[in-house]
Symmetry: C2
DNA sequence: ACTATGTAGTTCGATATCGAACCATTTACA
DNA sequence: TGTAAATGGTTCGATATCGAACTACATAGT
């Protein structure tokens, strides 16, 4: 098929952008924090405190072992606390600490200048138009994954 | 800035698509081969045989240590050969083996059905319009990157 | 109530990623 | 020509990712 290389190119660009943006993010996060660390903090603030590890794993579409690892790192740095889940003895709930909230706010403040640079070149209108289409693709790929296993 | 969350969302979608597409690719590659392995084989065929490891590292924008690791894997599987570079005693050149060429062709044949599924939902016109814009972003991020190499 | 099955989370082991330090060779230049 | 700096590549060590197997608790079906 003639058009197949186009799709290879597409996923290739996506992959490189992900890689470069991730590196750029992490270069601006202190103390060896990674994008998953930051994303979890962010999620806990934007959505809600007190999620379970498994809920978080599903929200980010990573295996639960990866989430265990991420949460261990956050806990070791005092940015979250894990407490038993009173509603289910197998489960835990993840709570932000004051330090975690402060840290996330600081991190955002640090990341904004880099974002502004990007925003100066790629307008909010453009990006705003793109996001829903990317979200569609993400949903498609996510569904294809379930179907395939 | 009000519009900053939009950019966070954008990079978030990119990251998840990269993660899901990578997992889908690797599920269809045999023998624990990864996307970087496949990409290098593909690059050697599409561009040219006999690149040096450092050229490959730059082409994929990864650190040279990562490329060493990828090439070691390919060599161990007999898909490439590394020979000294007659023009420079420090350097090597990477050559495809017959097995490497065959492997790459087989891998593409295996990947095409999955691509067709995606193509049925997201038209070549749409994707074709997207790719140059993503390439622009990739170039921008690459230029913005701090340390070269 | 009892057993079978399912679910939440961790541990373990294999592999990938990547920075720092290192060695060998090449290039710049006094 | 001789020495300093730069370059190509690997080794080493730290950390991330993730599947398989495991433990502990929960729920369904009898």
């Amino acid at each position: 098929m003639d058009r197949i290389p186009l799709y290879f190119a597409f996923f290739n660009e996506i992959g490189i952008i992900a890689q470069l943006s991730r590196a750029a993010f992490e270069a601006r996060l202190p103390d060896g924090l990674t994008v998953p660390h930051f994303s979890v903090l962010n999620h806990l603030i934007r959505v809600a405190d007190g999620r379970t590890p498994l809920e978080l794993a599903r929200a980010f579409q990573v295996p639960k072992t990866s989430m265990t690892n991420t949460l261990t790192g956050l806990e070791a740095r005092g940015l979250v606390e894990m407490r038993p889940n009173p509603a289910d003895g197998r489960s835990k709930r993840v709570w932000l600490t004051a330090k975690g909230r402060r840290f996330r706010d600081d991190a955002i403040a640090t990341l904004i200048p880099a974002m502004e640079g990007f925003a100066a070149r790629f307008s909010p209108d453009d990006i705003g138009a793109l996001v829903p289409r990317l979200a569609e693709m993400r949903a498609f790929l996510d569904a294809a994954r379930d179907g395939a296993e």
